[in-house]
Symmetry: C2
């Protein structure tokens, strides 16, 4: 495994380009994290103005995805990177796709906040909020691991997604009971259900990003592998 | 816009590698298409054996994703492709991610077929089957457009996803009415709802693949752009 150092390049310009693209993906992550936090605020308080702001703001996330991706392609064509440099660019190019989809999830959460029929679902919204804070924390830690390119942290975060999944399953059961007890609530509860689903998907996206971090640091593609095998890869 | 020809390479070996990777992504697409067809069969007939076969078969799709992705990285590092060759590899690397997720959708459909409580939802399953056949047809045509790298066909397919979305909305309304009329049916109907959602997502994945085809052929990233702008890009 070659030693990873971003400072090893003869070309200072190439170095600067890699640094710049890392900063840009972290800035995109920061924006997505804020959108997620605010979409959960909007849902908890049914704040239509904030929800609309989030929906409008999604184009910024989309724009960042396209421009970072373009820069990745430009660097590959111009600099012909190999080894860890190439892995960095590939990891970044995959990460921004997942960040963009977390952005889509925040739009879905914000849209649930705009639905008038969710008004009566206050007790359900509380469960989602708690799950949502958990997902926001996971995203924050994932972005931290990405900033530090910390494969061990990424591995721990990857495993911790099971907790968010369990929380989600609990919410779905709760929503089901609610609907069965009061069938008139079904349309409103379904809106809440889509929001819960969107939050759960944020965890999946974070897991993907953790896989890219491990790929960059360890040079191993750990997608679709068991935790046992991942652990072995990390020890190598 | 440079002229795209897969036969322009001095290196016959590089040529062969690009041809090979194109064939492999089409083979992966073919496998995913069969999985989708069979998962819909399994749901329509509640065939548990077939459903289990699909769930087990998903690791093949995952394995293809990982190995094609590895080959893409290897080619970039070794051949240092530029222009349309680089775009081809990037388009392929993104396409396989979406194909893998269509594979995940087939697993979700197959799992709904395994749920005993869907047994009583026969009329609902008929609606999903019809929507599912539509999605399978879209996937088939998308893979055709990919094989021929036909940007115009990709554009038409992209627009046609709105029909699948409308079909999905209709099914959700139908499921809602069903649950309100018979609250005991709610758990079973939710299983059907997740399957419907998975089918709808297949259409979204096909749309993504169409965007990569246009990116390869036209050199334009048309994600998040309006149909008006896409049309302009296609005419250039």
């Amino acid at each position: 495994m070659e030693n990873i150092s971003l400072n090893k390049h003869i070309s200072g310009q190439f170095n600067a380009e890699l640094g710049d693209i890392r900063n840009r993906v972290l800035a995109m992550g920061g924006l997505v994290e804020r959108q997620l936090e605010q979409s959960l605020d909007a849902l908890a308080t049914l704040d239509a103005e904030l929800a609309s702001k989030i929906i409008e703001g999604d184009h910024k996330v989309n724009g960042m995805e396209v421009s970072i991706d373009e820069e990745c392609t430009r660097i590959i064509a111009k600099r012909q990177p190999a080894a860890s440099d190439l892995r960095l660019i590939i990891a970044i190019s995959k990460t921004i796709a997942d960040l963009e989809r977390i952005g889509d999830a925040t739009v879905r959460i914000a849209k649930a906040a705009l639905e008038k029929r969710t008004n009566n679902q206050q007790p359900l919204l509380v469960s989602i909020e708690s799950m949502g804070r958990h997902a926001t924390h996971t995203l924050h830690q994932t972005l931290d691991a990405l900033a530090r390119m910390d494969a061990d942290a990424a591995f721990e975060l990857h495993k911790s997604d099971a907790k968010l999944d369990a929380e989600y399953e609990g919410i779905i059961r709760q929503l089901m009971t609610y609907m069965m007890e009061d069938p008139r609530s079904i349309p409103g509860v379904l809106d809440v259900l889509w929001a819960a689903r969107a939050v759960e998907r944020v965890g999946d996206r974070c897991k993907n990003i953790c896989e890219y971090i491990i790929y960059y640091v360890k040079g191993k593609d750990v997608r679709h592998t068991s935790y046992e095998d991942m652990e072995k890869d990390l020890q190598e």
